[in-house]
Amino acid sequence: MTDPRATPLRRLPGGRRHGPFRASCWMAEDHLVCVETSWFVERYRRFAFRDIESIVIQRNERARVWTILWIVFLLIGAAMALPPAADGTVRVLGALLAVPALLGLVINAMRGPCCATTLHTRVSAQDARAWRRLRTARQAVAELAAAVGTVQGALPDDSLAAAAGAGAATEPAAVPGLRPMPPPVAAAPAGPPRRRLITACAAALLVEAAATAMAIGLRTAPMMMAVLGLSFLLFGLCATALVRGAGGRTTPVLRSWTWWLFGYLAVRGTVAYFWGLVRYMPAAVTGGGQATDWVVLLFDTWAADSRFLAVFFGLVSLLSATFGFMGILMALRSRGAGGGGMKPET
């Protein structure tokens, strides 16, 4: 096979690494190569400079959502590690949560706001996943625009206004017996934002409810830890969906019952956490008192003899409330932006 690496490539600013997924953009002599690696397969999408029609950079709230998430985890970790009465295990777990959260907060702030970048050609609209930060996207697009300009030339000053106001152009002459070429199919719109997080948060709620029920029934510390760990895993997935939803990458699913679930999630989490805060935290901080009053109040059957478990469960409830309120807020804004089903343009 002829060596496919014969064409020299120059890397453009930007790039993204998210677990097993990596994305970057490289520039050849006459085309752009978008490289995406998923696990062990590397895929390429090429765009000739002569075919690129426009590039859209749109700022989104992904960075803000990350900031909120990092702050939440930092506060939780600090709440676990700092109280004088906290035992060693709780302190270690709190530090393991707080330190990465602090690093993430700083790195997120340094990298700046997030954006979504789309390359448009006559037949496609490609999301440039490597350019998700506004600063690097602008740098990369500036370099790319210069290269495209050398191939396509400069845009005449009045051409955009003239094109925008242009009426119907001359149609190609109709040929008997042949149908005219169909117009190019426009890329399906991305759909209303933040809907995937609604579905993911609802799923997290359902499993958390099931996990709580299991915890009530099991009454053994290792199994309760396991189910609560499952809740945390789901909250991690929920956070991922939240971030991706804030970036506009969502599926067009909106179910009215999620409103009720979000309401329950928010109310239940808030009541559980603040009741525990009022009834239990002073005792936890000072080292005395019972650890389970608030849990008994809610469920009326379960009693934990471990202060750590009670604190852990309280923090899970705090996350429930956080995601519940954020989900409601996002859903409200999504509905205001034009909610509804997504249909491809025809």
């Binding site: 426009s54 789309t118 625009a145 190609p172 042949l178």
Partner: protein, 207 residues
Amino acid sequence: MAPPAPACPSCGTALPVAAGAPGGSFPCPGCGAPTELFVFPALLRPPANSTPAVASLPGDATCYHHPDRVAVVACACCGRFLCGLCDLDLGDRHVCATCLHAEHEDGGPAGRRVSRFVQYDSLALALATIPVLTVAFWFMSCLAAPAAVFLAVRFWRRPMSLLPRTRFRFLLAMLIALATIVGWIAILYVAVDGMLAGGTEPGGGAR
């Protein structure tokens, strides 16, 4: 017909083309998100193949695949006449779909533009390291390590990427995998030796 306007990535609303001044930001007409639009002359260019395939008249040269269509070009590889539908414009030459597919299979000029690579070096490294690092799956290293060595040997010369890439991953995978294999051999040797020693002790044997 006005040129197709780019759409907002969030709400799908068509963006105002006239706002395509570089460096300028404007709110999306649909969702209000801050948007920057960079427009190039290709947007104003008419479609390349706007003329559909034309029906043939007696005496016209016709397409090899569509006898009722006028031929507009000959394939640069096989020489067959092609209509507007069959013509594949590669920029510097025109080919038919059959020749393009054949070139792709043979790795010719048209096939040089591969769309994906399987990164066997990363796969070998994962097979060599993950079972060793994860306590729960350490027992799978007895299968994963030989598989890693096989991948490293089998695909050593194959290109792994369009981008600059060394064979460091293959080397590391082989080192770790070979060390794992040696470890397993040692474990088996100790286990068998212990069983044999326990069977030959006086007063030992089956109870």
